[in-house]
Symmetry: D2
Subunit: 356 residues, 4 copies
């Protein structure tokens, strides 16, 4: 039944319930001698909890404590154990719901699977589990950085506000995202106003995040099952509330003709050059050196403050109104999580491709 380990050579095993003592993990397989930039890791963690209207603003510092595997700021090659304590338990927020299955949450399925009453507040199914992904992802980024691999995600949709993915835009050319991770400030303003509106009515929103990976060398990916896109898809769909993944042209490729779609090649300044990148940087399951680009779709936060129909644990029909602390829109918090999972996949495949 174990399902809490990710990766083959750069392996993360995580633990922790949202209202337990701590969230943490063990990274096994991190090479020795990597310089650990603790400030960077903390910054990444802080990106998980940006402040904006309707965000839950759980007021925990989320300080990561490293327990092993690092000495004098460098990795030892031994497993890196770490944890982030849960300070703001507030489990009382959830007391009223303890007997009701919250719609489109994991309450019902966890109880069916494990046969034990589920922790209030989501327990292991809470988004708080992603704290461990971000810590490990930050270390993976440090490894990738030394190979000049750069991973950057941004919000390309929130509710009905959709980014214009014109490839000439500033962010994709190396510029900045908006403070909350939108493609640009204008989009952020429009999205925030839609979020504020949803907040007022007690409703919630979902969205789409786009991730671009620059600098990947050709050769990463292990066919036929551990293709690079297969592992990326698994990584992304393992994030709570993710419903969809596509890379390159994705679903829209289905309606293209081969002659238009194919990424034809030529030589430019002595180098193999692709005229287009419809394949999104991966061919035959292996990176081809072009930018890797993919999109992940997320459903709206299921905790709406409006009246919903549900059943209770005794098997009776009931009604529920979810109060307490919940995001109106969690997409701005997911940007760093998408990047972290991408970093875990890339670091793992970089190591897998380096053997022999």
């Amino acid at each position: 039944m174990p399902g809490n380990t990710f990766g083959y050579l750069f392996r993360l095993t995580t633990f922790g319930e949202s209202h337990g003592v701590a969230i943490g993990g063990v990274i096994d397989g991190c090479p020795a001698g990597i310089s650990i930039d603790f400030e960077f890791i903390q910054q990444e963690l802080d990106r998980r909890k940006p402040v904006y209207p309707g965000s839950t603003a759980r007021k925990e510092p989320d300080l990561v404590e490293f327990l092993s595997g690092i000495l004098n700021g460098k990795t030892l090659g031994t497993p890196i154990g770490f944890l982030v304590k849960n300070l703001a338990g507030q489990s009382s927020d959830y007391d009223d719901l303890s007997l009701l299955y919250r719609p489109s949450h994991a309450d019902y399925t966890y109880e069916k699977k494990y046969g034990v009453p589920v922790c209030s507040g989501g327990g292991r199914a809470s988004g708080r589990e992603t704290v461990a992904r971000v810590v490990a992802g930050a270390i993976a980024k440090l490894i990738l950085k030394s190979s000049n691999i750069d991973i950057r995600a941004f919000i390309s949709q929130v509710g009905s506000i959709v980014a214009d993915l014109n490839l000439n835009n500033a962010f994709l050319s190396g510029g900045l995202r908006s403070p909350l991770g939108f493609l640009n400030e204008q989009m952020e303003q429009r999205a925030l106003s839609q979020i504020a509106e949803a907040e007022k009515s007690g409703d919630t929103l979902g969205g789409i995040i786009t991730c671009v990976i620059k600098g990947t060398p050709p050769g990463l990916g292990e066919p036929v099952f551990d293709k690079l896109q297969a592992d990326l898809a698994k990584a992304m769909l393992s994030i709570g509330s993710a419903k969809a993944f596509e890379y390159g042209l994705g679903f829209s490729a289905a309606s293209w003709k081969g002659s238009d779609y194919n990424d034809q090649m030529t030589m430019q300044e002595g180098k193999v050059t692709f005229l287009t990148n419809h394949d999104g940087g991966i061919q035959g399951g292996i990176s081809n050196g072009e930018d890797i680009m993919f999109h992940i779709g997320f459903k709206p936060v299921p905790s709406v403050k409006m009246l919903q129909t549900t059943v209770n644990k005794k098997g009776e029909a009931a009604e529920i109104t979810i109060s307490g602390r919940h995001d109106t829109c969690h997409i701005p918090r997911l940007v760093v999580i998408v990047e972290s999972m991408a970093a875990l996949v890339l670091a793992d495949h970089l190591l897998r491709n380096s053997t022999y």
Copy 2:
């Protein structure tokens, strides 16, 4: 570097290049005592090569030979080795191309990764590798059948021909697909005429396949990384030419509001009942007992018969026109492959959920 094993408790390891001696695999972890319906397995294999305009009609019987793990028609609990010989090698078809990288194929990336000249005709990257997936998937289906889990896929898009996924349609209610796996005959006729048109111009088409799994008990899926949808996404994205995966409402969920999206519950005839199934049968990474539904997007076949720009292995710009035997549209061949991969995931998770 190993990447040719799929599954944790029901594990498939495959081997074989398209123009080598054989394609085959080993299934480890198949429970003892399963009755093997050899005729069914062969029928599944035959579904990989339907005859229609523009299909490559490789005239091999594709007979599977079982080498171990089965005695008197029942599994022994020991590994099941099997192979399908490659009879129609025809490697001469590929000779002219041997020095050119075919655009949007795996030629370039395989050579970059492995540093050896790639087999002509695709080698390991050829769709022929899926033969092994279908054999193992058929055995997985036999296991699932005894648990009343039924997996059926159909073509929901080819080129610009899109199925109307009205949930009241005949197939989803248990009726038949069209002979080639389309949602209905009318769609098949329209698609075949578009395929014929592409065939004439030497061009190719992609499409979308939808898969519906009925009868899954609640409880399958292993959070937080081996969520059921995460393993399904990996399985589907490991199929050659797949570019996208979504389950439930998928990408469109991004623009819904939580209050509309949530699958509210009630009691009907003493049973927990979901009023909608926007989540696609999986919540928190675990099946909830509702139909599991997902879609996979595939790019067009990259082997177009039209002139393309490319480079050769010496690093010179060149032109290529791919002749030889290639599908104009491979989507009808992928239906059984999608089902097979889904069966591998479900059988694996059924076993994973049965421990203790």
Copy 3:
């Protein structure tokens, strides 16, 4: 490079250096609903540090803190994170040695492998890492207990003091070991006097531990590679200072004739009964229901207080006298560790055998 995970369905991942912040681990795959007896776990941990002449008596309470996976005294089915803080660092004890490789320690090989200066005091190679094995082993024992599987080890040799393994002895019939884990009190007295003698001269001793597992049902073990004895051998040889493993008649079987060796069977009171148990409870890699018995040989503690020849990290010949806190004989501390590793193997195989 990951090598810090043990088990397939009951999986332990550990971390921690001897003089770092903490030793800990994550147990993934523990079934839900297991009652956790915290007192028992602490008792098992305390068995790692019995007080006797020449023992290092590191005065740490070694209190285990559980961070997740347990609620109201029962397991949730989610990963169990835990740690034991390192309080008595005393790294100054090791300062003089920091530039010298201690003979028959791991100093030289760790530096060669990881290319970084090894933690003083053994770091990850210290016996202190076994703290995590004992915590996880104790939980495994709780699972096994509910299946009536009982694991008990005892010291069968220390230095030249050898136990008489007459099968009619009290311990093997369910009686008590000596306080320090010897087969009986008389042996303990003789061994303690030999330990005291070695202590006086600054020398050290090794020994042999015997483990008996009662109540194993037939059927545990997964041929051909994950045979029960193969996993037990790996488990035991992964313990620091272990040099040898044998089960049943072990090495001495090499000189028996088949006709004398074979465990012939008969029926007694309607049950299949083995007339002997030379095979040690495992045949063909699978338990047969008889007692499983095996022996593990351990070399003497390498930290002798006498003058030894060695080299320093600059590549110069040197001499070393190891002072500081070191066991004269670590065998009494290993009894619970042997049991813990056996419990991990048995719990894992119990789960592996329960699927489907």
Copy 4:
């Protein structure tokens, strides 16, 4: 339940019953570009069936057929599928026994585990399964050869005939074994006469094999669980009839004092030099560059031609006399199998140590 895969980066998955169609396997993770010496592989296979009095001399050519992963004599980096057909089925030899459990065989445990009648003749539990280990081991040896790692085993005991392991003997200094793999010709003569004697009385013999690995670089082994000796122990104990494993001084280390035992170091001609090798080339779970030496104890062949007590599958007491084709002493056949398993472990750890 899967248990038929061995290795992490150099991975072998095997299949096949003794009287089924074939024995075979898949090697996944073999680097690309390795030159395959087919003649050498066949020679290794032939070493599995030396001719001597009392050997079963199954007259099969045991020709290996490679199905994938190799082109023009070089590996492609893709999985290597292979098989060896079972030609000399002779299942009639086993017919009388089909209802009786053969003592100290796997008949009883396989039936208890899998719940299906076991293949006659041992099925998956037959020594014939090792054919696949030898093929893969031979390829592993080719990889190791290019790193100058040399693995050689010899027979150090058969019945009561014990080799004198004086380290100055010819074989250990690079000379030859006897034709059947004994340390020298004189020992072979004495052993053969003891085997002939056992053959006459219908009895059987076991023995001990010693393996020496020269040329291992420092650094192989992945603490804390995948220590080099732990993986070697598992590999050896996974061989049918193996009962014991020890490396370096092994069990005898238990009675040494630390001051005598420790492998002290010095500098000689500018190189770190160990004065002794009691640790057997591995310290802290990692190779130190010295010769790796270990011993494996095997019980006698269980198929004796003398009358034995047993039970039948109906649960009745019975008697059995095993006729048919069986080795009187299988030790000469095991030499290449021990080397093959050692090669799998070393190749795997060589790759594991080469990442990053």
